[in-house]
Symmetry: C2
Subunit: 313 residues, 2 copies
């Protein structure tokens, strides 16, 4: 049984045929026309799907789509997409005009990625939280094998949970959001500040040599034995860990999957985060342990997770 998964981005629309085992059997990508009329964008998506299906229309059991924005999955409507002209579009209805007999579902792209990682990552998990440490901090919540999205698809915004009341300004308008401390962007800011404050450090030397700061800079300096970098990472992991423990205390999932660019550092961040969760989660003696693990599907998670939206309907 095969499914179509579509991962819509501001730059490109990626689509794949996905097996019920979560394997991508065929993959195609088209460029997004983000500010075209929404009917044009929907037409582009439909063409991509048709191209993927080819002559095998009867073997595709459903189409799932991940959208970069707030999505009302129940109504099949995009509530808001800041970077593509689909705000207010009844996407499911419009796509049904092209594919009248196929079940179609939509969700937020980060939620789709979470579903993909939970169901088809290194371990099959029916209860998990995916934390994506990227430009922002995204959270996807899987409960009983299903996405939890909140009313109108407006929940699961764990990146906008305050971990420092009155703290750093966040893009959402609040102060002290987790995203403002634990995103890759926040780590870059923390790295830059530490390098400026410690001009003689190995970190500052690397920043000067590279001519830029990115999410890897501080880890590179740590590898070269820089104590300033070590301190930045330690503090950053407390920020990341505090948010993760908050989610553990609220959801007590079987696992927290850490994705996004920063997660590519692997064990050097997963191991201390696991130790932090073991130590700090509520009532550790009497509560089920929660595993912290790295994401494994990365860029494919969006397509696989979008397809998973329609796997059990």
């Amino acid at each position: 049984m095969n499914y179509i998964g579509i991962d819509i981005g501001g730059m490109s629309i990626k689509g794949g045929i996905v097996s019920s085992a979560g394997e991508i059997l065929k993959k195609e990508v088209v460029t997004t026309n983000p500010w075209a009329d929404d009917d044009v964008i929907v037409g582009d998506i439909a063409s991509l799907i048709k191209s993927l299906i080819g002559d095998g229309a009867e073997s595709v059991k459903g189409i799932g789509l991940g959208i970069p924005g707030t999505v009302d999955g129940k109504k099949g409507r995009v509530s808001v997409t800041p970077n593509i002209n689909l705000t207010g579009t009844c996407l499911v209805k419009k796509l049904h005009a092209y594919f009248p007999d196929v079940p179609i579902k939509i969700s937020n792209d980060a939620n789709c990625a979470a579903l993909g990682e939970a169901l088809f990552g290194s371990e099959k998990l029916d209860d998990a939280v995916l934390v994506t440490l990227g430009t922002g901090v995204g959270t996807g919540i899987i409960l009983d094998g299903k996405l939890f999205e909140g009313n109108g698809g407006a929940g699961a915004e764990g990146g906008h949970m305050v971990i420092k009341t009155g703290g750093e300004k966040c893009g959402c308008g609040r102060r002290g959001c987790w995203e403002a401390y634990a995103s890759a962007s926040a780590l870059i800011r923390q790295t830059r500040m530490a390098a400026e404050k410690n001009p003689d450090s190995i970190l500052a030397k690397i920043v000067k040599e590279d001519g830029e700061v990115n999410g890897k800079t501080v880890f590179k300096a740590q590898s070269e034995g820089c104590p300033v970098a070590q301190k930045v990472i330690k503090k950053y992991l407390v920020y990341v860990g505090d948010g993760i423990v908050n989610l553990v205390n609220i959801f007590r999932p079987k696992a927290v999957i850490v994705g996004g660019g920063i997660s590519k550092e692997g064990e050097r961040i997963i191991k201390p985060l696991q130790a932090y969760v073991n130590r700090k989660a509520y009532a550790p003696k009497f509560s089920p342990k929660v595993k912290v693990m790295p994401a494994t599907l990365f860029n494919d998670a969006g397509i696989i997770g979008a397809a998973a939206l329609v796997m059990d309907i």
Copy 2:
């Protein structure tokens, strides 16, 4: 159709016959023997239930119990109760020896209260978060008309969500938990500190006259026009509001119900909290509004909610 709801506390065990409309038809209370053998405690609970049922055994469709501790509802086992000797007790199994043919379910007492308030409070809600501002901060999560408890019943501990990383020490061992800022105990501490710092304030005068500080003191001073008290309350409501907005962003429930002693202040806390949620919740323009409302069942919520555990099985 009637149900038995039992609210177990360290001081007393309260029981009631509850109708399917959530009305308490009969109520009885016995004193808890908190450190007796667990079989003795279970026997006391069974006697209370028998006394409630009287001759009408056949009309009782289920028994629900709320326990002050961590409860694994799926296994019917109490994981830990700090103030009563039921840690590790397979309560459902032991009670089935007395009532072999009746469905029996157990949950955490705060969770039961949340279920009671959501299903039988001023408005029937199938998606809601109950926040209890008492000695600690309790949170109960209702999703699709059911309690959400997390694996092993160890979730829904929103009071132990850090809102100020590195902040005040919390009883759970972490620093900066919501409970350490938003509980009645925290408000009392904040009140006491403000009175000490401002010995000429109306607040300090009231503290001196009353000879003690409780959760009402600062509101009493506010009523008398004390600017120091006004400042304490404003700051306290930011702490309470930050945690509520976090839960709104994560769950996007239909409503947040505020209970516990502090909630008896009514509109003077509900109104500013509603305004805070409207202003601070994520993407307010594009997301469903979340109502902030006071709890209405108070002490009866535990009995009614415990009975509600067995209403749909």
